[in-house]
Amino acid sequence: MTAPLVVFFVLAGLAVIGAVSLILQKHPIHSALSLIVVMIALAGLYLLLGAEFVAAVQIIIYGGAIMVLFVLVIMLLNAGVEEHTSISKMAGAPGLLLVVALAGLVAATIVRSTDSVLSTSQAGDMSSTLEISNMLFKDFVYPFELTSFLILVAVLGAMVLAQREKS
C-alpha cells in the first residue's frame, strides 16, 4: 500500500461520499455543497495524476464560478425541501439496478479494452502549463476560438432569458 494509493482511496472515497450525499440530501443547498466536496476531491485526484493546470482550473472555474452560480440561484429562487411523490420511491430499486448495470458495464468495457495499456502511469512532468498552452494555442486554436464564441452566446442568452418581461 503505497502512499499514492492511500491518497487515491481517500480522495476517491470522498468523491463517492459526496456524490451519494448529493443524491440523499433533501434540500438542494446541501446537494450543492456535496457537489462542491466532489469537485474538490476530483481536483485532488487531478493533482495526483499530475495535471496541475487542470486541477487549478477545476477549482477556480467549477468550484469558484459554476457552483457559486448554483448556490446563488438556489438562494434566489428560495428553493425549499423537496416534496415526496410515491412514484420516485417505487422506482428507486430498479433504477438503482439500472444504474449499477450501466456503471458496471462501462467500467468493465473500458477496463477490458485498456488491458493492453500499461497499467502503471508515468511520472508527470510533461504536463506542464507551458505544454498545455502550446497545444491549446497551436493545435487546438480553432476549437479554442469556437469556445470563446460559445461563451459569448451563453452570456447573451443568459441575459435575454433573465430579463424581466415588459409588462
Binding site: L98, L105, T109, S113
Partner: protein, 661 residues
C-alpha cells in the same frame, strides 16, 4: 371446285347450328316467333342437308375413311391436337341421326314452345347443343371429342334449367351437370392414360397401332394400362349415358321441356357414351376385363332401371327410366363385342324414344300440363294421331317383330347369349328386362289412353296438337317401323345390311361369324321366338292388370307394400347419395373450409396480425409519456444495451475499443 366440296368444308355441318344459336341468342329477344323459327329451323335444316350431302360424297368416294385437319388447336412439344373432323361409316350413322332427328324435334318444338316465354333463348340453346353434339360425333381425336362432350353437358344444363325460376328445375340442371362432371373426371383420366401410353390422342394414330405391330401384352391384363384407360373412359360414359351409379340425374332432367327430353335425353346426348365406347372398340377388345365390366354394368342398369319404371306415375319419368334401361342394353351389346348391334339399337332407340317423348309431350299439351298418368285415361279416341304414333313407338320399344326395336334388341340378346364368359346370365337378365320393358310400356299406354277417364272433362279441355307437332310424330313413327328393316334380310339368310355397312369400322368382330352360319341362324330364330314370347307375356299381364281388373293393381301394390314403396322411391338412391356424398361434402365445406380455414385461419391470421400490431402500438405508446425523466431512463437503457453489445460481442482476440498508440 374440289371433288367433294362438303367434305372439304365439313366444318359447315356443325357451324350452321352455331351460327343459328349466335344469331338467335344475340338478336332474337326482340324478334317475333316466326323469325326465330326461321333462323333455328333453317340452320338445323341446312345442317341436315349438308350432312346428307357429305354422306352422299362419302359413298361416292367408295366409303373410304375421310379425315381432314382444319387447324391446329394445341401444339405442345410432340403433342398435337387439332380441329380435325373425320367421316367414316360410324360417323355416317351418328351424324344422320343427330341432324335428322334433331331437325324433326326442332320442328316439333316450334309448336310445343309456342306459348312459352324465352322462346328465342330456347332455340339458341337447342342450336348450341346441336353444334356441340356434331363436334362430338365428327371429331377425329379425343380432345375435340371432349370439347363436344363438355359442350353438350353445358347445353343440357342450360336446357334442363330452362324454367330457371322454378327451383326444382334449376336444381335438376345443377344435378345433371355435377353428376356429369364426376364422369368427366374419369374420362379425362382415361385420356391422360391414353396419352401416356400412345403419346397422341388422335383416333387414327391410336387405332392403327393395334394391327401393325401389336401392343404389349401386359397392357391388356387385369391391371393393364388399356384396362384402366377403358374403365376410366367408361366411367365418363356412365356419367353421360346415365348408367349405374351415375344415372341419378336423368330422371330429374325431366324438369326440362319435353322437346329437350326427347332430343338430349333420349336420342342424342345420352348416346354419346355408347358412341365413345363404340369408337374406342379396338381399345376395349384388347381389354377383356373392361369389356366384361361394361357388359355387367349395362345389364345391371337395364334391369335396375326397368324395375323402377314399373311403378312410376309420371309419364315422363317412366320414359326416363326406360331410356336408362335401353342405354343399358346398348352397353351390354358393346360389352359382349357386338358393337354394330349396339349402334343399331342406338339408332332405332333414337327413333322410337324420341317419338315416345314427343308423343308424351303431345299428351301433356293436350291435357294442359298434366303429367300424372293416374289422372289420365280414355284418351285414345280424343287424340287419335298422338295415340297412333305412340302405340307404334311402344310396339317398337317392346320388341314386337317388324318394328324397329325387335331387330336391334334381338341382335343384342343373341350376341349376349353367344358370349363366352357369363353370357347366359347376361342373356337371362336381358330377357327379364325385355319382359319388364314390355310390361311397363304397355302399362303406360293402357293407363294413358285406354280404360276409364280419370279426369274431369270440364276442367281439362282435351285437344289434339297442331300439325307442327304431329308432323314429326308421323315421320318418326314411319322410321320406327321401317328403321329395323336393314337387318331384316339377315333373318332369311340374307345379308345384314347394317352390320355389313359398319364392318369396315368394327372389323367384323361380331360373334355371329364365330359359329357356323346355319347353327347360328337356328339359335337366332329360337331366341327371337323366346323374346317375342316374353313380350307377349308382358303385354298380357299389363292388359289384365290395368284394363280388365284395374282394382287388382291397387291390391297388388298393397300386398307387396315394402317392395312397392322401395321401387316407388327409386330404391332411395338419391337419399343415399345425399347422406353419403352430399352432406359430408357440405359439412366439410362449411365447417372445415369455411369456418376453420377461412374465418379462423386466414382471417384470424390477418386480423390477428393487425390486432397484434395495435396491441404493440398500445404498449409502446407509454414510452412517449411527455415526462422528460422517463426519457432519460430510456436513454440509459439504450446506452446499457449498446455497451452490453460492445462488451459481449465476441471479440476475435483484439480488444473492441482499440487504443491508438
Amino acid at each position: 371446285m374440289p371433288t367433294y366440296p362438303i367434305l372439304e368444308y365439313l366444318w359447315i355441318v356443325p357451324f350452321l347450328p352455331l351460327l343459328g344459336s349466335a344469331v338467335n341468342g344475340l338478336f332474337g329477344a326482340k324478334w317475333p316467333n316466326k323469325i326465330v323459327n326461321g333462323v333455328a329451323l333453317g340452320s338445323t335444316g341446312l345442317s341436315f342437308l349438308a350432312a346428307l350431302e357429305a354422306v352422299r360424297e362419302f359413298f361416292d368416294s367408295g366409303q373410304v375413311l375421310f379425315r381432314k385437319e382444319f387447324f391446329t388447336w394445341i401444339a405442345s412439344g410432340n403433342f398435337r391436337a387439332g380441329f380435325d373432323l373425320q367421316m367414316d361409316q360410324l360417323t355416317v350413322v351418328m351424324v344422320l341421326v343427330v341432324t335428322g332427328v334433331g331437325w324433326l324435334i326442332h320442328i316439333y318444338a316450334t309448336g310445343y314452345m309456342a306459348h312459352e316465354g324465352g322462346y328465342y333463348r330456347f332455340f339458341s340453346y337447342l342450336n348450341l347443343f346441336m353444334f356441340f353434339m356434331l363436334i362430338l360425333v365428327l371429331a377425329a381425336n379425343y380432345v375435340l371429342l371432349f370439347v363436344g362432350w363438355e359442350g353438350v353437358g353445358l347445353a343440357s344444363y342450360l336446357l334442363i334449367g330452362f324454367y330457371f325460376l322454378k327451383k326444382s328445375a334449376s336444381d335438376a340442371g345443377k344435378k345433371a351437370f355435377i353428376v356429369n362432371r364426376i364422369g368427366d373426371f374419369g374420362f379425362m383420366l382415361g385420356m391422360f392414360l391414353l396419352f401416356r401410353a400412345f403419346h397422341t390422342l388422335d383416333f387414327q394414330a391410336i387405332f392403327t397401332g393395334s394391327t401393325l405391330q401389336g401392343w404389349p401384352v401386359e397392357w391388356s391384363g387385369h391391371l393393364g394400362t388399356l384396362t384402366f384407360a377403358c374403365l376410366l373412359l367408361f366411367m365418363g360414359a356412365c356419367g353421360k349415358s346415365a348408367q349405374l351409379p351415375l344415372y341419378v340425374w336423368l330422371p330429374d332432367a325431366m324438369e326440362g321441356p319435353t322437346p329437350v327430353s326427347a332430343l338430349i335425353h333420349a336420342a342424342t346426348m345420352v348416346t354419346a357414351g355408347v358412341y365413345v365406347v363404340a369408337r374406342s372398340h379396338i381399345l376395349f377388345t384388347h381389354a377383356p376385363t373392361a369389356m366384361l365390366v361394361v357388359a355387367m354394368v349395362g345389364c345391371a342398369t337395364a334391369f335396375f332401371a326397368a324395375t323402377i319404371g314399373l311403378v312410376q306415375t309420371d309419364i315422363k319419368k317412366v320414359l326416363a327410366y326406360s331410356t336408362v334401361s335401353q342405354l343399358g342394353y346398348m352397353f351390354l351389346a358393346c360389352g359382349v363385342g357386338a358393337f354394330s348391334a349396339g349402334i343399331f339399337h342406338l339408332m332405332t332407340h333414337a327413333f322410337f324414344k324420341a317419338l315416345l317423348f314427343l308423343a308424351a309431350g303431345s299428351v301433356i299439351h293436350a291435357m294442359s300440363g298434366e303429367q300424372d298418368m293416374h289422372r289420365m285415361g280414355g284418351l285414345s279416341k280424343k287424340i287419335r294421331w298422338t295415340y297412333g304414333t305412340m302405340l307404334i313407338a311402344t310396339l317398337a320399344i317392346a320388341g314386337i317383330p317388324i318394328f324397329a326395336g325387335f331387330f336391334s334388341k334381338d341382335a343384342i340378346l343373341f350376341a349376349a347369349f353367344e358370349n363366352g364368359n357369363g353370357g347366359r346370365l347376361l342373356y337371362a337378365f336381358g330377357l327379364l328386362t325385355a319382359l319388364l320393358t314390355s310390361f311397363y310400356m304397355f302399362r303406360l299406354i293402357f293407363l294413358t289412353f285406354k280404360g276409364q277417364q280419370r279426369f274431369d272433362e270440364h276442367k281439362v279441355h282435351v285437344h289434339e296438337s297442331p300439325w307442327s307437332m304431329l308432323g314429326p310424330l308421323v315421320v318418326l313413327a314411319v322410321l320406327s317401323t321401317i328403321g329395323g328393316w336393314f337387318a331384316l334380310p339377315a333373318f332369311f339368310n340374307g345379308p345384314d345390311y347394317f352390320s355389313n355397312f359398319l364392318r369396315p369400322v368394327f372389323g367384323g368382330r361380331e360373334t355371329v361369324e364365330a359359329a357356323g352360319e346355319a347353327v347360328a341362324h337356328q339359335v337366332e330364330w329360337t331366341l327371337a321366338g323366346v323374346a317375342f314370347g316374353t313380350v307377349l307375356i308382358g303385354l298380357a299381364f299389363a292388359y289384365w292388370l290395368y284394363l280388365k281388373r284395374p282394382e287388382k293393381a291397387d291390391g297388388l301394390a298393397k300386398s307387396m307394400k315394402p317392395a312397392y314403396s322401395m321401387l316407388l322411391n327409386k330404391y332411395y338412391v338419391d337419399e343415399l347419395y345425399a347422406a353419403v356424398v352430399v352432406r359430408p361434402l357440405l359439412w366439410i365445406s362449411t365447417v372445415v373450409l369455411w369456418k376453420a380455414t377461412d374465418v379462423a385461419g386466414i382471417d384470424g391470421a390477418i386480423n390477428g396480425i393487425a390486432s397484434g400490431i395495435t396491441a404493440i402500438g398500445d404498449g409502446v405508446r407509454h414510452t412517449q409519456s411527455g415526462n422528460t425523466r422517463s426519457y432519460a431512463v430510456w436513454v440509459v437503457v439504450g446506452a446499457i444495451v449498446i455497451i452490453a453489445v460492445i462488451f459481449f460481442w465476441p471479440a476475435s482476440g483484439k480488444p473492441v475499443l482499440g487504443m491508438v498508440h
